[in-house]
């Protein structure tokens, strides 16, 4: 079948090659291009570029539903610096991302390495490992809310089975974020598949070379698997960090930001400010700060990556 081969070619294809000169093209290519990419470009302008600029303008106003918006300069940004809840939400979000990103990446890599062993029942394992990741986040949130229930939930029942005392999970200030981190490693399907694709791209000869040098499993992992996977690790790191910094539904459905703001994620705080307190100006200022943070982190990760990411074809 064409598909499977084509996909392998796609996967193996090097980065963009300069377009080969083929037959002379239509003279009216520009008009055709406008037809083909026009909707997407319009969508970019109208649903991305204009809103991001408008968001900044709104951040400079005192815009609530009650009053006519008035220009207040940097007042919202000054207010933010003195806002205890803003700092709290920043801390909560950073705390969550700092643990959920490495934890889920490590777990995804572990699962991918197991799948890469060509175990019997491999397809079934892959299905089961991927399954939770396709579930609607609202369902997983409701389900885990029930599993975290201190009196009747699954997790405390399991703890009781091994003789441990009940935990309060998301219902205690100290437990809320660790509980959500634990929940996050349940959804590692896409990351796992990306790692698996990466693992399958590691040439066998490299492993054989380590074996000839007398290296064991640990040496194979440290000196072949990890270095060869660094581009994949970078990709997963960037995507999952951006995702973790935008966590919302869990706090909305499960904890309402609590207890005592222990799970006040930034996006949840922005949502509350904009749509419960209807303070669009201040919410936009908060949203812009999040935007700058995400842009800065992505930029730093990509910029510093050439120090630790190994590309087979030489560093770019």
């Amino acid at each position: 079948m064409l598909s499977a081969e084509a996909i392998e070619i796609a996967a193996a294809a090097p980065r963009p090659v300069a377009p080969a000169r083929h037959l002379p093209r239509h003279r009216g290519q520009l008009a055709w291009a406008a037809l083909f990419v026009g909707p997407a470009v319009f969508g970019f302008l109208f649903f991305k570029l204009v809103p991001i600029l408008a968001s900044f303008v709104i951040a400079l106003t005192n815009w609530t539903v009650a009053n006519t918006p008035s220009f207040v300069g940097s007042a919202n940004f000054e207010r933010l610096l003195a806002d205890r809840l803003f700092w709290k939400s920043l801390g909560v979000t950073a705390y969550y991302a700092a643990f959920s990103v490495p934890a889920s990446m490590a777990f995804a890599l572990l699962l991918a390495m197991l799948l890469n062993q060509k175990l019997p029942g491999q397809r079934l394992f892959r299905t089961i490992f991927y399954l939770p990741s396709v579930m609607p986040v609202i369902v997983t949130s409701v389900l885990w809310l029930w599993m975290f229930n201190p009196d009747l939930g699954l997790l405390n029942a399991l703890l009781a089975d091994i003789g441990l005392p009940k935990a309060h999970w998301i219902y205690s200030e100290g437990g809320a974020i660790p509980s959500l981190v634990f929940m996050s490693i349940w959804h590692v399907g896409p990351m796992m598949i990306i790692f698996l694709a990466g693992l399958q791209g590691v040439p066998r000869t490299l492993y054989e070379a380590v074996e000839i040098d007398g290296g064991g499993a640990l040496a194979r992992f440290r000196h072949v698997t990890l270095p060869m996977l660094t581009p994949t690790i970078l990709f997963n790191l960037v995507i999952s960090t951006i995702g973790a910094l935008q966590t919302f539904t869990q706090s909305y459905v499960m904890t309402d930001g609590g207890p005592n703001n222990a799970s006040l994620f930034m996006v949840f705080y922005i949502y509350r400010t904009a749509f419960k307190d209807t303070n669009m100006g201040y919410a936009s200022a908060l949203a812009w700060v999040l935007f700058v943070i995400i842009a800065a982190i992505s930029f730093l990760l990509l910029k510093t990556s050439n120090r630790w990411v190994y590309y087979e074809g030489g560093n770019r």
Partner: protein, 282 residues
């Protein structure tokens, strides 16, 4: 291949991997078992600690009860009214855009594409507020429009990226042959590219339908009137209203998740291929 080895010849490392895989699989399936088990129990049995695993009796009536407590069919209809045009718009506009970014030559093409790609890093919440204010000024909140229209304008940049990667694997000679026969780009797309890209297009349709079914934040923002609620939103409302009715809540959650699981089992290869397709690898 080690998988073909008889059990007795398995090296210790393979045993270790197999045992670990079984343990993780059990651990990951456990929440789902808990979901189904809770959805079939009477409330009295749910309140027993330590919890029991087997419902006694099987309370099948939880399902009709849950589905009448919330206007399930109505929410299903609302969900589909958004989902169907979203999928059509997504497949149509991402295919067109991907063709324009891979098969046509025009100045600035790759730069424009890279700018679009960069918007993947844009947090949704930053563009949300002005977009919401605009839709609300247009009087179109509480309608499917704000949820559907962006997908007719290439909101799904990742799918454009995916299809563009796929189109590039199709030999240009096929286009050229069609062009020699007098085909215009639209005909090349329709007669050459689309027939060869069916798996990729199906992948996009499935992923976009799934995203629409699962979407929570957009409906939450735009649909405040409960007559417009989608299933995801209805389930969240249900959680707020009937916090201790865990058996009904789990039955409702099961109903929302079953179509997703069925789709996943039927179309599993498309989920997996979507990632391989994007060309992300070590």
């Amino acid at each position: 291949m080690s998988a073909r080895l008889p059990l007795k010849q398995w090296p210790a490392s393979l045993w270790l991997a197999f045992v670990l895989a079984v343990l993780f699989a059990l651990g990951m399936i456990l929440p789902l078992a808990w979901l189904v088990r809770s959805s079939l129990m009477e409330l009295g049995q749910i309140f027993i600690f330590p919890p029991q695993w087997i419902p006694d009796p099987f309370a099948w009536s939880n399902y009709p009860d849950a589905l009448t407590t919330i206007p399930f069919l109505h929410y299903l209809w609302n969900t589909l009214v958004i989902l169907v045009p979203t999928v059509i718009g997504t497949v149509l506009t991402t295919t067109m855009a991907a063709f324009g970014f891979s098969r046509l030559e025009w100045p600035g093409r790759d730069a424009v594409f890279n700018i679009l790609l960069a918007t993947l890093m844009l947090p949704f919440v930053t563009t949300l507020i002005p977009t919401f204010l605009w839709w609300s000024k247009m009087g179109l909140t509480n309608t499917p429009w704000p949820l559907v229209v962006p997908h007719w304008f290439g909101a799904d940049v990742f799918f454009i990226f995916l299809l563009r990667q796929f189109f590039r694997t199709i030999p240009r000679e096929l286009d050229d042959a069609a062009i020699l026969d007098g085909a215009n780009p639209l005909q090349v797309l329709w007669h050459v590219i689309v027939p060869l890209s069916k798996p990729a297009l199906i992948t996009v349709a499935i992923l976009s339908g799934l995203a629409s079914w699962n979407d929570f934040l957009d409906p939450l923002i735009y649909l405040q009137d409960s007559s417009q609620f989608t299933l995801a939103l209805g389930l969240s409302e249900f959680t707020g209203l009937y916090t201790s009715q865990w058996h009904l809540l789990m039955a409702a959650a099961t109903v929302v998740v079953v179509p997703v699981l069925v789709l996943f089992f039927l179309a599993q290869r498309y989920f997996v291929e979507s990632i391989t397709l994007s060309g992300i690898k070590g």
